[in-house]
Amino acid sequence: MSFITKPKVAHPQLPRNELKLTVRDYEGAMSTLCAGCGHDSITGAIMQAAFDLSIPPHRMAKLSGIGCSSKTPAYFASASHGFNTVHGRMPSVATGANAANPELHYIGVSGDGDTLSIGLGQFLHAVRRNLNMLYLIENNGVYGLTKGQFSASADVGSKAKKGDTNQQPPIDPALTLLATGATFIARSFSGDREQLVTLIKAGMKHRGFAVIDVISPCVTFNDHEGSTKSYEFTRKHSMTAIYTDFVPPAKEIRTAYEIGQAMPVQMHDGSQIVLRKADGAYNPTDRVAAFEYIQKHQQAGEIVTGLLYIDETKPDMHELANTPAVPLASLPFATVCPGSKALASIQSRFR
């Protein structure tokens, strides 16, 4: 179906998308996060991307776990159904929801604790199923909502506000995803809106499990001197490995890219992602090369951002399950109930 949410307030000046909606129509409730929290910027980027892609708000489904980050689905797209699950178990809920209805656009928002601590198992199994959704990790290196304990993404030597230093090696989402066969791996920074919006669009168009690990500073518990997830540290140490442009369907690529440097990737709906290497050496379709590159820069204390790896060829969960294009949830009862004759013939085998 194609309903259009009534524009919240008429803003003659505000630009409108193909659905005649303004970006305000993608807003949600007022954020209750701390002023300056990186998560709020990501919320803004999601609204922008959904607006740019002209996605009907009610055709999106927002899912999350528990945490400050997981609260954010309430703060965008109030015309979308939201599902704030239990801590660390959003991937399983998203899997079931997706199995019932492949037509919606699934956006999952989680935190580093929700994804890499309690949720690590479910997260990696969703990767394995190549579940068709966009999964954002709002990564601040701490448990914000429980007041700042280190999470599994905290770097060795990172200092907590209360003083103690993290000793345990971090679980790096990008490297782990490369090893476990993920088909879309990106990293970004809540402070880099332009890159983030493009990556979100690309991720939403990816047919499969698209993960964006977004460094999203916690101003209250992890934005101080000595933190490796602060605004300052991230700004100083992040480097773009690859630039990404998103080209909607029908629009053919105008900008001229230098030969060899530009790499267009065809998405299933006809849109394209064009990758331009910031660093000639980098190849985002080569798992091993990506692994080496990220690892190398990590050891040099650099945070590599951009679309780090993409593979559009892998089948997603529905293709593997050979399910129909229409939602299973919408099949008429007559189609799914075999009826009395079938029951009779089945029973003949039990005499």
Binding site: A99, N322, I346
Partner: protein
């Protein structure tokens, strides 16, 4: 021989076969059971197998009873001892006047020294070695051969056995001949060496017409198929695994789009039970009928999500095929010990709707009903069966399906209904039944709401306000009163004047009914009620009120059914006398009779 020959017992005896697991005795055993069934004689088959894949002792027990009493009998009249490791145990178990058959290729006259048991030695291995060459088939043929021996001893209908062989090996004729040969060899040997038939013998009847032999995991899977469940998520666990196996088989056949060949179902093997229940909630939230089969440990792992489903009001159907706890317990033994764990699963003030089928037939109908209840009440519904129901072979009446059946999808708003609303409020109870209308994602922007396990008010908004919070949990309590009227009524057999009654649950059904008959012979009349759902309806309360002494029969140590009755009815606990059985084997009629008689002896009963 000098052994007092027992009263001839046509169609009333128990046959037990002791074997080694993984040696393929299953087909031989089911052939014996089915041949009796096709002779029109009421029969059941129970499988006592180890939590192991190969090499440990396993038993198959067939009870034949013309009256249709098909609980575990607790006695063995004819024992086929195929496992030397358990000779001693098996020999000891035979009832006085009974028979023990064993492979006398290696004679054991010392060991089998009971004067009150007939020992019949059949040199199975020798005969096999003489007649078959390859090693594997020799083991298999040894098993099939005792079918022939028993056919002679019990006077089974050889035509039916031929027929069964033909059906089973329709595909591979070579195997057919070998098996037929083995049976004939066994038959011939018995005829030649023993006076056939034994006093324990089969006689053709007409008491199995319009019945099937089936297990409850298969019928539960059929229920899911016919209820229109499209998403099944699970993590393998004994004894629930065969439920999803069956569902998959049925879907492959009945849920493929004839043109496109697409699968009109999606079965997901989750990474664990936390994942499985999460998937079910996600799919149900999105409007699909969805379920997960599991057993005790899975229920424990699903606790957090079960509370979430209760508080956010999302339908879900679970099957808890109960096994012997606590903890890992005995995975291949039966018990009814998850009643409390399921009724109040999860922290906080949480409670769940439960269904209690008694046999595979009810498992089918209640599986269907579970989906209606879950969607009507917007809450998880747990169907509690057990290993006895789920994995053993039961004789049931034919399953019927009414093609005019319309599923109850509950209060789900259509596009038009949403449009018509000034504003949609997810948790607003407009008609007093404690159930608020829901919307499905993707239907309409006005229908959007935010599902959360944290505090929410009746409009669906986040709240930490004391009053707003309480309104919601108080309504949830009212919703449970509605549930009382929707769960299936109890099965009741009661005479007005009798003030003594049984109150039981699930797979105790057969044993308690047989006990009633035995007590009646003894002149003791006891009424009967079997609960089929939770929360308990008015019929249960009335039954409790109209009896002075109630024997609560259940298969767990802690009297969990009695506990639920004490908590959820107004019964005077002193009326409730527990009869408990919890050693992992199915309950016996004798246990029930003894329980009552002890109580009568104590002079407590009316």
């Amino acid at each position: 021989m000098s052994i007092a020959s027992p009263r001839p017992q046509d169609n009333d005896f128990t046959l037990k076969i002791g074997n080694v697991n993984g040696t393929g005795s299953a087909s031989a055993n089911s052939m014996l059971m089915k041949s009796l069934f096709r002779m029109g004689i009421p029969v059941c088959g129970k499988n006592y197998f180890p939590s192991n894949i190969q090499g440990l002792p396993t038993w198959y027990e067939i009870r034949v009873n013309s009256e249709g009493h098909l609980a575990r009998s607790g006695r063995v009249d004819v024992m086929v001892a195929m496992n030397a490791e358990t000779y001693r145990k098996d020999h000891a178990e035979v009832a006085t006047g009974g028979y023990l058959i064993y492979d006398s290729t290696w004679p054991r006259s010392q060991l089998f020294n009971r004067a009150d048991v007939h020992i019949l030695g059949v040199p199975l291995s020798r005969i096999c070695n003489e007649n078959f060459d390859n090693a594997r088939s020799r083991i298999l043929m040894k098993n099939i051969m005792y079918v022939g021996v028993l056919a002679a001893l019990l006077d089974l209908d050889m035509n039916i056995i031929k027929q069964l062989l033909n059906e089973q090996f329709a595909a591979k004729a070579s195997l057919l001949d070998a098996n037929q040969k083995a049976i004939d060899l066994g038959f011939a040997y018995a005829k030649e060496h023993f006076s056939c038939p034994l006093p324990f013998r089969a006689r053709t009847l007409d008491k199995t017409r319009n019945h099937i032999m089936i297990d409850g995991n298969t019928t539960a899977a059929l229920g899911c198929l016919f209820a229109g469940a499209t998403v099944g998520a699970w993590y393998p666990i004994t004894p629930s695994t065969s439920l999803m196996d069956a569902f998959k088989k049925f879907c492959d056949k009945y849920r493929r789009d004839p043109e496109t060949g697409k699968a009109n179902y999606c079965i997901i093997q989750a990474e664990d039970e936390l994942g499985a229940i999460g998937m079910v909630l996600g799919a149900s939230w999105n409007g699909a009928r969805s379920f997960t089969p599991t057993s005790g440990p899975g229920i424990s792992l699903m606790n957090e999500f079960l509370g979430y489903g209760y508080f956010t009001e999302i339908p879900a159907v679970l099957f808890d095929v109960q096994r012997c706890g606590p903890s890992t317990g005995m995975p291949t033994r039966t018990q009814q010990a998850d009643l409390m764990a399921c009724a109040y699963a999860s922290h906080g003030d949480t409670r769940h709707v439960l269904l209690f089928p008694a046999n595979p037939e009810e498992a089918f109908y209640q599986a269907v009903q579970a989906f209606d209840l879950a969607e009507r009440l917007q809450t998880p519904v747990i169907v509690l069966t057990d290993l006895d129901i789920g994995m053993n072979d039961w004789m049931c009446r034919d399953l019927n399906w009414d093609d005019s059946f319309k599923p109850d999808r509950g209060k789900v708003l259509t596009v038009e209904q949403i449009e018509a609303l000034p504003k949609f409020n997810r948790y607003l109870d407009t008609d007093g039944d404690g159930i608020a209308a829901r919307t499905l994602p993707g239907t309409h922007p006005k229908g959007a709401y935010f599902t959360r396990g944290s505090g929410h008010n009746m409009y669906g908004a986040y709240t930490e306000d004391a009053a707003e919070y309480q309104v919601v949990v108080d309504r949830l309590r009212r919703k449970f009163d509605t549930a009382k009227e929707l769960v299936p009524p109890a099965e009741i057999h009661a005479s007005e004047k009798c003030r003594t009654g049984f109150l039981t649950i699930g797979s105790c059904d057969n044993a308690v009914k047989e006990a009633r008959a035995l007590l009646a012979e003894q002149g003791v009349h006891v009424n009967y009620l079997r609960v089929k759902g939770f929360p308990f309806g008015k019929d249960v309360q009335d039954y409790l009120d109209s009896h002075d002494r109630i024997y609560v029969v259940e298969q767990n140590r802690d009297a969990q059914l009695r506990s639920l009755l004490m908590l959820e009815t107004r019964v005077d606990p002193n009326k409730l006398q527990s009869v408990l059985h919890y050693d992992g084997l199915p309950i016996l009629a004798k246990t029930v009779v003894d329980g009552v008689n002890q109580d009568l002896a104590r002079g407590k009963a009316a």
